[in-house]
Subunit: 348 residues, 2 copies
């Protein structure tokens, strides 16, 4: 039998029905490539040039309110617009375009320009959870919105166009490719087994906890067996619910707690404000029944070796197959071993 701690191999992702090539010892190769900028001076609590700070004027001319907790608004430069003609363009059977409508919302996590999720008080993270939940409920109730994508791009390395801690919510008429795929795989599994794919997956992981990072009574964060990004995690509620609105009060607290625990570990890994893209996957909001859907969150962080050297998803990855340089088990072990207290708080 081959030893997957040592030898190149492929792992299957049952949520996407895709593969990832795992090369356990490749992280040792020399690097004469790009370095990310390391975080320099601490940002100010308020930045007069920031489009997202309270009381500031955005490029659109709109003035932000002097908000105290979260602030949610329609993106001034939205990729999706609520109004527009409908229709399909078709040419020769191979060119096909469909008009698409939707909303792009921005959610400031805090009035503080300098506090990312791991540094916010837990009560504020809980308020972010409540805000996400209400946005999902309201947007999803619109008959023209069939899917709601909540996500955060954190850090320059992950394309955040503004450093003020914020996330986004894009909602639209059509279910996008990746959640549509996860719908299909979860449905096929549920029809066969009568349980959600992610409940059964969690039960397997619970036995050894080899890939667990942090947990509490209601949630688990783990490095999935099929992780692609070096320190990718999957954040799962222990109870199979289909969307945020189905979480009870204790589970909402649990989500705030697991997010705090996980993002503190992340910041502690390289003692830097750890960049990532994160997002929820939830049931479509087209009014259908989705017993197969198991709400979850993906964290996709790019850093590989240090605060300045990231993994590039390029050539082979873009042309052929996902690929990673350390195993999921190595990544989980490193994250688990880190202190539970944020390195900045520990230094005080």
């Amino acid at each position: 039998m081959f030893d997957f701690t040592e030898q190149p191999h492929r792992r299957h992702n049952p949520l996407l029905d895709e593969w990832v090539l795992v090369s356990p010892h490749r992280a040792k190769r020399p690097w004469q490539g790009a370095q990310e900028k390391a975080a320099t001076a601490a940002p100010p609590a308020y930045d007069p040039t920031c489009y997202l700070c309270p009381g500031n004027t955005r490029t659109s001319g709109i003035v932000n309110p002097k908000y105290d907790h979260q602030y949610v608004f329609d993106n001034d430069f939205a990729a999706l617009l609520p109004e527009g003609e409908t229709g399909t363009y078709e040419e020769g059977g191979l060119l096909r375009a469909d008009a698409e409508t939707g909303h792009c919302r921005v959610i400031c996590f805090s009035p503080r320009h300098d506090l990312t999720l791991p540094e916010l008080p837990i009560a504020e993270i809980r308020k972010v959870v409540d805000t996400w939940t209400e946005e999902f409920r309201t947007l999803g109730a619109d008959p023209n919105i069939n899917y709601v994508q909540i996500f955060e791009n954190k850090g320059q390395a992950m394309g955040a166009s503004n450093p003020h801690p914020h996330g986004q919510i894009w909602s639209e008429r059509t279910v996008p490719d990746l959640p549509a795929k996860e719908s299909r795989t979860q449905k096929a599994y549920f029809e066969k087994h009568g349980r959600t794919l992610l409940s059964d997956y969690l039960a397997i992981e619970e036995k050894s906890k080899t890939r667990f990072v942090v947990e509490n009574d209601t949630w688990v964060a783990l490095v999935p067996f099929w992780a692609v990004w070096p320190f990718e995690t999957l954040v799962l509620p222990r109870r199979a619910v289909q969307d945020l609105t189905q979480l009870n009060d204790q589970e909402r607290d649990g989500l705030a707690d697991i997010l705090q625990q996980l993002t503190i570990k992340y910041d502690n890994l390289f003692e830097t404000s750890f960049p990532y893209s994160a997002g929820f996957h939830q049931r479509p909001t087209d009014g259908g029944e989705y017993p197969e859907w198991h709400l979850h969150m993906h964290f996709l962080p790019p850093l590989l070796r240090s605060a300045t050297v990231k993994k590039f998803m390029v050539g082979y990855e873009l042309m052929a197959n996902a690929q990673r340089d350390i195993t999921a088990e190595q990544a989980a072990e490193r994250l688990r071993a880190l202190p539970a207290v944020h390195y900045k708080a520990a230094a005080q």
Copy 2:
């Protein structure tokens, strides 16, 4: 009918059966995010610290020959290894890993540290084409190799770990996800129509040439209708062949010419050494018949607005769906309008 030059819409990619969300006017949004380093001083023709320059010693201790044209060798830090146990790991029906074997080769395009493809003499580009062809032939003849992925990561923004002009060739036992998908879509099309999907696609594009960038007697480079990256192109032979070894002498010259024409346009767009990942898609090398396969090359360049501001494939793109900020038609028009002479040569 909706106007796809103005209004957000989705386009279908028939090669991957995936969608891309197109937001024509989003490129105007303010950018307070990451900037790529602009190329600084011109690199030297020979760099004594470079692992790829002729005569230098690599970290593995191996000394590069004093090569005059191309130099191909096995990567010292290969993601795939030729030897290893075989076998499958399986747990609970949801964890699955297969041992994988293969080769990772590096191909230096030129002994010159400072000359990327668009700056090489055409005779040298033709030699690169011949080298790729021979590598495909030799690797593909190995009964343990069922797929050969030839690619190039150019520039720091695309994760090149060393600036010396070079590409890579990863070959392996299993057909990776993306070529496997393209195999399925091309096969379904061929079985239905008796012609390759890309022949019929080229015939549609030939009518208006709206998305053409450059062409010659044997090849076309165009921005595909379903392009994801801002200035993505698809490079196609006019004659449907399945792999590089089936190109005749004139078609090999044509490939060298189209690569030179296209990469000069790319460098001229922002007057910078234009980063990209590029690669060939060809038939699997498992000995099967692949009449549906139409050899092609994808160029995936990240720059969006300038030499320093790129498109990030993050949050929405990683969680939901590919997304782009200008239309394929706008991109093709801008590339077509650029001079055919490299900006550095023009400045001399």
